[in-house]
Symmetry: C2
Subunit: 259 residues, 2 copies
């Protein structure tokens, strides 16, 4: 597997999907309710269809798992995971902090990933061993300088209801009360900010594989740390609790939530 | 006073300041500590200096109050209030949700205002009686439709530490626990989203006149409601608690925080 060219193909596929998403935004769009009461739009469905079609053309042997359609099995241990529009709630309200997430797993470990924040024009990409980029420029998570304090870092959290969903709202409340700059920057926007160090860490609970795989690789390849704090089954779905970002801030979060 | 041309002059002045701010971002920038331990950058100081100079050229009789320099008195009851970079904490961390806020007060009531989100390319403007715009296009806060529920609206909050600063963290905690989509979208980003209805309401406590005046006019001229929930003196500074946005959501918030 040529990781650099696989990453570049993934970036191009997501760019094609982005054009479709922005066309839906410009035209206005319609909603349907999904079984779980979250909303799904024609933009989500079109984007996932397009990404699946392109992946099948380029990588006919790979499996595909997406948020909106049935999984297809592959051969050789390679599986793509797709969230065509992560942050659907933001998207349908016109909050520009939604995005497209795509990752390639090799035996369940991400090796290529893309997060595309179409609403604010930022595309992040990573490949195992080759580093992380934003709009093609390398990004690095440097360690905190001597004058920098963890208390000055922003810590990003998912929405409180995600923590409520797994009975762990105490974690959310403790971080909100215990850190002066804890903010809910939910979904892939917070993930991408963690990969470039604009937030010190992202703490996101009860999320699915297609909400975490791309981010974990992006953060690790930028020099950061990603720690899975928990996993559980929700019906047939596996859910994960993650913290990732600058190593010192990730450690601070681990201690803060275990106190 | 020709409100339309005054608004257009204000938009142009802010656009000139934006170019300077983005040049600082591209070049990297330096920090100094202000007396209150918040950070101020060369970008803040340069932007406020430029805006003051241009206002003095266009409106020599008007007073000017800004975040970074001493107030200058005017004649005739007109005063400009400037926050050159609202969201300094976001700005210095590379979170693109900071912005420039400018408003003209007539006897303490805002009549012209601009919020410029330089990091995401959105400029909002309003003039009393002439409506609100985003990048020149009118924006309207429509009432909730029959199928829309307040519980689906996003409610934006300032950071918890602002509420702690005036002993009202209970308000923050109650809204966070009581609404499924309460999120901290602090500073002018949350304000601007409230003016275009992407969030149902913004709840921002313990803020100064230059953090609120532009937003209040922008929301009211878009058809929304703005309610001052409290004011107090913090040393020589006056601080205000605001909720603004869609009328139904503003009312929901008022009830929720008084329970």
């Amino acid at each position: 597997m040529d990781l650099a060219s696989t990453r570049d193909i993934a970036v191009n596929i997501v760019a094609e999907a982005r054009a479709g998403i922005l066309a839906h935004v410009a035209a206005g769009f319609s909603f349907e309710k999904k079984a779980d009461r979250s909303f799904v739009t024609a933009a989500d469905l079109d984007a996932e269809r397009l990404i699946r079609r392109r992946l099948e053309e380029h990588f006919p042997d790979h499996g595909i798992v997406g948020e909106e359609f049935e999984a297809t099995a592959g051969m050789g241990g390679y599986t793509w995971v797709i969230d065509p529009i992560d942050g659907t709630h933001s998207f349908r309200h016109g909050i520009p902090l939604y995005g497209t997430m795509l990752a390639l797993l090799e035996d369940n470990r991400p090796i290529v990933s893309v997060i595309d924040l179409a609403g604010i024009g930022r595309c992040y990409a990573a490949a195992r061993g080759l580093g992380s980029t934003r709009n093609g420029q390398p990004i690095y998570l440097r360690r905190l300088g001597r004058e920098e304090r963890i208390g000055d870092e922003v810590i990003a959290l998912g929405e409180r209801k995600q923590f409520v969903g797994c009975g762990l709202e105490g974690v959310f409340d403790r971080l909100m009360a215990g850190h002066p700059h804890a903010r809910t920057y939910c979904d892939c926007f917070g993930h991408a900010l963690a990969a470039e160090g604009s937030v010190g860490a992202m703490v996101d609970y009860n999320i699915r594989i297609w909400d975490s795989a791309a981010s974990v690789l992006l953060v690790e390849e930028a020099g950061g740390k990603a720690v899975c704090l928990g996993e559980r089954l929700d019906g047939a779905d596996k859910r994960y609790d993650w913290v990732f970002g600058k190593p010192e801030v990730v450690e601070w979060v681990r201690v803060a939530i275990s106190e």
